[in-house]
């Protein structure tokens, strides 16, 4: 096994461990912390693919901003242990078959490609920050601006909602 492959399996295992722990933890804080583990492991996977900028931004935005807000709110509300309910009917009769089906599809796709999936993106496009930003501001400028507009609308919505309470 080559070094990148070993690192890939370590990170993948970490991500899956974090995701499972996110569901199984009884305390909201530990669920949030597990989600951070997933984010950091994903950032490591991006780094392995040569997408340095995306990896750093993944940690800065998700790990450093969004999850801090989650943890902050959980601490502020002083949320206690989660109350366990019995499995709802939807989870048993729709959830489990669906999960099995999705894993089956993914496994089939991997099997059909002969064990090697094609690279998810042309490697030259993601490697350097400069090419990434060039792409964002030339070829994908409309989706980019549209996303910014969406975020602006969300900010305005948050302000409107916050003001209504006063």
């Amino acid at each position: 096994m080559t070094a990148p492959l070993i690192i890939f399996f370590v990170l993948a295992a970490l991500a899956i461990f974090g995701a499972v722990s996110l569901i199984l933890q009884r305390h909201p804080i530990y669920s949030a912390l597990s989600l951070i583990v997933v984010m950091v492991a994903l950032a490591g996977l991006y780094l392995l693919m040569g997408a340095e900028f995306v990896a750093a931004v993944q940690i800065i935005v998700y790990g450093g901003a969004i999850m801090v807000l989650f943890v902050f709110v959980i601490m502020l509300l002083n949320a206690g242990l989660e109350e366990r309910t019995n499995f709802s009917g939807l989870a048993t009769y729709a959830g489990i078959p669906l999960a099995l089906a999705v894993s089956g599809f993914i496994a089939a796709a991997i099997a059909r490609s002969g064990g090697y999936l094609p690279a998810p993106a042309p490697s030259g496009a993601l490697t350097s920050t400069k090419t990434l930003s060039m792409l964002l501001f030339t070829e994908f400028v409309y989706p980019f601006e549209l996303t910014s507009f969406l975020i602006l609308v969300a900010i305005l919505g948050a302000i409107v909602l916050a003001q209504r309470e006063n």
Binding site: I29, A56, I60, G64, M75
Partner: protein, 403 residues
């Protein structure tokens, strides 16, 4: 053996470098506490530590021994995992952030492996640093939450809110520098400031003075130091998030705080003050004798002071230190090769020392902000100013080009 070394040099050399850096940083942290107590004492017309060793120089050692041997009680009702995780996380992230900082220009080869002064030379080092600082808030937040103490929780909450607010300014204020350098690598940011060869004039501080002021203010808030030390405001919150921590676990928060101070000082030096570059033009070759010119009088002074010192131990130790400093200064004069080699690190650490001194100086001078003042200052003043700085810099580059 030699073949083994050459083959695994890519693994062994970084491990040795990491060990040296960690030992160095922990020692510097310890003596930073001594410096802080001394400087603040003199600001307040006191003597500061004076009993343990000459001029209190062995005080950090005594403090370290005290931290190790103190009882470490765990309060009732704490959340055990988070309570133990928090100090480790804080210290680990603080030490990791030093890994991407380059300390000097030289590259050298050990066992056929080319390396440099600094641990990792990644081309997105600035982003890596911001990613690590972004995670640092969890240590403080978790410590506050896990301690099962109202004051700790309030400290942790304050700290999370403060760090989120000031992180925006911290990130935006360096965009001007990034626009000038066109690169995320700290090494190329420094090299870009060297281009004209005119020394001081080509540093980023002149075009980016607003950016620097925003950056330094936000960085102080990120490191929870005066005047932004509300998470541990002792008059309101006992000791804030680390109220319930004692012994080595408290020491970890303490070391992490001082390590972050060092990181911030290194960043200020690299981003705005030319890193390891000399402030004098390249043509002034005589300035390379400056380290000796500073070392020899300082050594003489230590020697003179040591001979007259009141304790026998001081009369033995201080002249020894003075002689060592004199010898070092003399060696630098005698061997130009070594002298040329230490120029970069000399300027780098001199500038870092100035920033650390400013940190301490501010603690002795400024009162603490009130919490609402802190928030409105961050959001309503610093953030708009740093955005304006980005727009102004971009416009200036568009009109006049980069130089």
């Amino acid at each position: 053996m030699n073949e083994f070394l050459t083959h695994y040099a890519f693994l062994i050399v970084p491990i040795i470098k990491i060990a040296i850096l960690v030992l160095l940083v922990l020692t510097v942290d310890a003596y930073l506490t001594w410096l802080e107590r001394k400087v603040i004492a003199h600001i307040q017309s006191r003597w500061g530590p004076y009993r343990v060793g000459p001029h209190g120089l062995l005080q950090p050692l005594a403090d370290g021994v005290k931290f190790i041997f103190k009882e470490d009680p765990m309060p009732a009702g704490v959340d055990k995992i988070a309570y133990f995780l928090a100090p480790f996380l804080t210290l680990m992230l603080a030490l990791t952030s030093l890994a991407v900082i380059p300390f000097g220009p030289q590259r050298f080869t050990i066992w056929g492996y080319e390396t440099h002064l600094g641990i990792a030379d990644v081309n997105i080092s600035l982003l890596v640093l911001f990613a690590i600082t972004a995670l640092a808030v969890y240590g403080v937040a978790l410590a506050g939450w896990a301690s099962n103490n109202k004051y700790s929780l309030l400290g942790g909450l304050r700290s999370s809110a403060q760090m989120i607010s000031y992180e925006l300014t911290l990130t935006l204020s360096v965009v001007g520098v990034l626009l000038l350098a066109g690169d995320f690598s700290l090494r190329s940011i420094v090299e870009q400031q060297a281009q004209s060869g005119k020394g001081l004039v080509s540093w980023n501080i002149f075009p980016q003075i607003i950016g620097f002021l925003c950056f330094f203010t936000a960085a102080i808030a990120e490191t929870n130091r005066v005047p932004f030390d509300l998470p541990e405001a002792e008059s309101e919150l006992v000791a804030g998030f680390h109220t319930e921590y004692a012994s080595m676990k408290f020491a970890m928060f303490f070391i992490a705080e001082y390590t972050s101070m060092i990181t911030v000082s290194c960043l200020c030096t690299i981003l705005f003050f030319g890193g390891w570059l000399s402030p004098f033009p390249v043509s002034w070759t005589f300035t390379q004798f400056l380290p000796s010119v500073l070392l020899i009088p300082f050594g003489l002074w230590v020697l003179y002071d040591g001979i007259r010192y009141e304790t026998i131990f001081g009369r033995l130790l201080l002249p020894g230190v003075g002689t060592a400093l004199l010898a070092l200064g003399g060696a630098l004069l005698a061997y130009p090769a070594i002298n040329g080699y230490i120029q970069g690190p000399f300027w780098f650490f001199a500038k870092v020392f100035v920033f650390l001194f400013v940190y301490i100086w501010m603690r002795g001078t400024l009162p603490r902000f009130r919490y609402d003042q802190l928030m409105s200052f961050g959001w309503k003043f610093l953030l708009p100013v740093s955005i304006a700085n980005v727009v102004l810099t971009a416009a200036a580059i568009l009109i006049w080009g980069k130089h």
